[in-house]
């Protein structure tokens, strides 16, 4: 039998492959069995997610970097499909009952002392540290900083045009990220430029995305 695995890989890891595939198939069959006997639509939707997790198990069993490139889109596709089906379920129920509901039904109510007493200095540190990290992780940290700032300022009120501008900048930064990837594929010689475009594009985008959660929060605060 032909073996494609390089000799540096531990035999334990290689031996796990077949059991992992079998476990994935068993998990998928358990999920399918659950779907076959369940009649409630919402429960069926949640059980479908178990079948999706089985896919992640089988792809993760391969464990190479190409498999990683399959696992991330697989996860995203699962999330996108579950969101789309949730929307369809909601709109069907709304048509049946004649009532309409908001996407986030309850206004968030944060009444924490730390939001008024904590210094905004922490937000500045988070943003600078995120810029130093760059990429997706840095974006998440800087976004946390922006979120913290927004939450601590909600009492005083933030000008809404500022945050709308940030939302626009987030979209432009995403285009930078895409352009970086195109440069990597079309002109591989300029890989450093492509890398930097992608890293800082995704940094700004993720940071502002997390900041946008703050915008939504602020609007919910004002509703009260």
């Amino acid at each position: 039998m032909l073996v494609l695995v390089p000799p540096v890989v531990s035999p334990v890891v290689v031996a796990i492959y077949a059991p992992a595939v079998i476990v994935g198939i068993i998990v998928a069959l358990i999920g399918l069995f659950g779907i076959s006997i369940e009649k409630n639509d919402l429960h069926v939707l949640i059980l479908t997610d178990i079948v999706g997790i089985a896919m992640l198990i089988i792809v993760a069993a391969v464990g190479t970097d190409l498999a990683e490139s399959l696992i991330l889109p697989g996860l995203v596709v699962e999330l996108a499909e579950i969101l789309a089906i949730c929307e369809i379920l909601m709109s069907r129920e709304m048509r049946k009952t004649g009532k309409s509901v908001a996407l986030i039904p309850t206004p968030l109510n944060f009444d924490m002392e730390i939001l008024q007493t904590a210094p905004v200095f922490i937000a500045v540190i988070l943003v600078i540290y995120g810029a130093f990290l760059s990429g997706f992780t840095g974006g998440a940290i800087a976004g946390g900083g922006i979120l913290f700032y927004v939450m601590s300022l909600t009492v005083r009120g933030v000008p809404s045009s500022l945050w709308e501008g940030i939302a626009g900048a987030s979209g432009i930064a995403w285009c930078l990220w895409l352009m970086g990837f195109l440069v990597l594929f079309v002109f591989p010689n300029y890989w450093l430029l492509g890398l930097m475009l992608a890293a800082f594009g995704v940094f700004i985008k993720v940071a502002f995305k997390a900041g946008l959660i703050g915008v939504m929060n602020r609007e919910e605060f004002r509703k009260e």
Binding site: L4, V51, I58, E78, A84, I85
Partner: protein, 226 residues
């Protein structure tokens, strides 16, 4: 170097780093067909339906509002482009992504309609599409594990087949069948077609037809039965 895939000669490849598209006369034709149909959809207007009732003269006209019409046309164009991409891609991994995109967009095209039974059918189709993404990605992963690559051009030059490749191929086929809603899963799709807005709905049909032809080509390349 003359490379032939399933007896037809490769006209050209489009290398974008790792992602390679290749053209043979076979899939170039399907690519052109998908693009031409997408173009026709982009410039066409939606039909209106008349619902008749037995025993009365109460016929009702069903039209599509302009906002919904624009949204549906956008999704139909995306679906057509994804179909065209799936025709020429030289990568099993890209192919799975294109098929998943077709599945999601198909849900989206009928997601905004007002009839409850159509929404019900779209919900069932969505469940099948979501379940089918498991064999789709698992099949691609098993092909990757047994062939060592996901590039169709590289798999074409392999001289051996293994049973794991066959299992992967079967899973891939199951995934594509569920994702595009053919053979055993077509009942919900037929129900989805009863909503007004005909030319956009037809892309659901065309994409599944073309993708099934293409997946059979890919499976023949992988398993080399001849």
């Amino acid at each position: 170097m003359v490379v032939s895939i399933l007896g037809s000669q490769i006209i050209g490849i489009i290398p974008l780093g790792d992602i390679v598209f290749y053209m043979t006369s076979f899939n170039l034709f399907m690519f052109a067909a998908a693009l031409a149909f997408t173009f026709i959809i982009a410039i066409s207007k939606t039909e209106t339906q008349v619902e008749a009732e037995f025993g009365t003269l109460g016929d009702r006209q069903l039209t599509v509002a302009k906002k919904e019409f624009k949204f549906r046309r956008f999704l139909a164009i995306i679906c057509g482009l994804a179909t065209a991409g799936a025709m020429v891609t030289g990568d099993v991994f890209d192919f799975t992504l294109f098929v998943c995109l077709i599945g999601i967009v198909n849900i989206g095209i009928v997601g905004a309609v007002k009839q409850i039974d159509v929404l019900d059918a779209a919900f069932q189709y969505g469940l099948i599409a979501m379940i089918a993404s498991t064999p789709l990605f698992a099949g691609a992963a098993l092909i990757l594990a047994s062939a060592g690559t996901v590039s169709i051009l590289a798999i074409n030059s392999l001289t051996y087949t293994t049973p794991m490749m066959l299992l992967g191929s079967i899973l891939l086929f199951l995934g594509v069948a569920g994702e595009t809603g053919v053979a055993p899963f077509f009942a919900t799709k037929a129900e989805m077609f009863r909503t007004p807005g005909s030319p956009f709905l037809l892309i659901i049909h065309l994409s599944s037809l073309l993708v099934i032809v293409r997946v059979i080509e890919i499976l023949l390349i992988i398993n080399k039965p001849f």
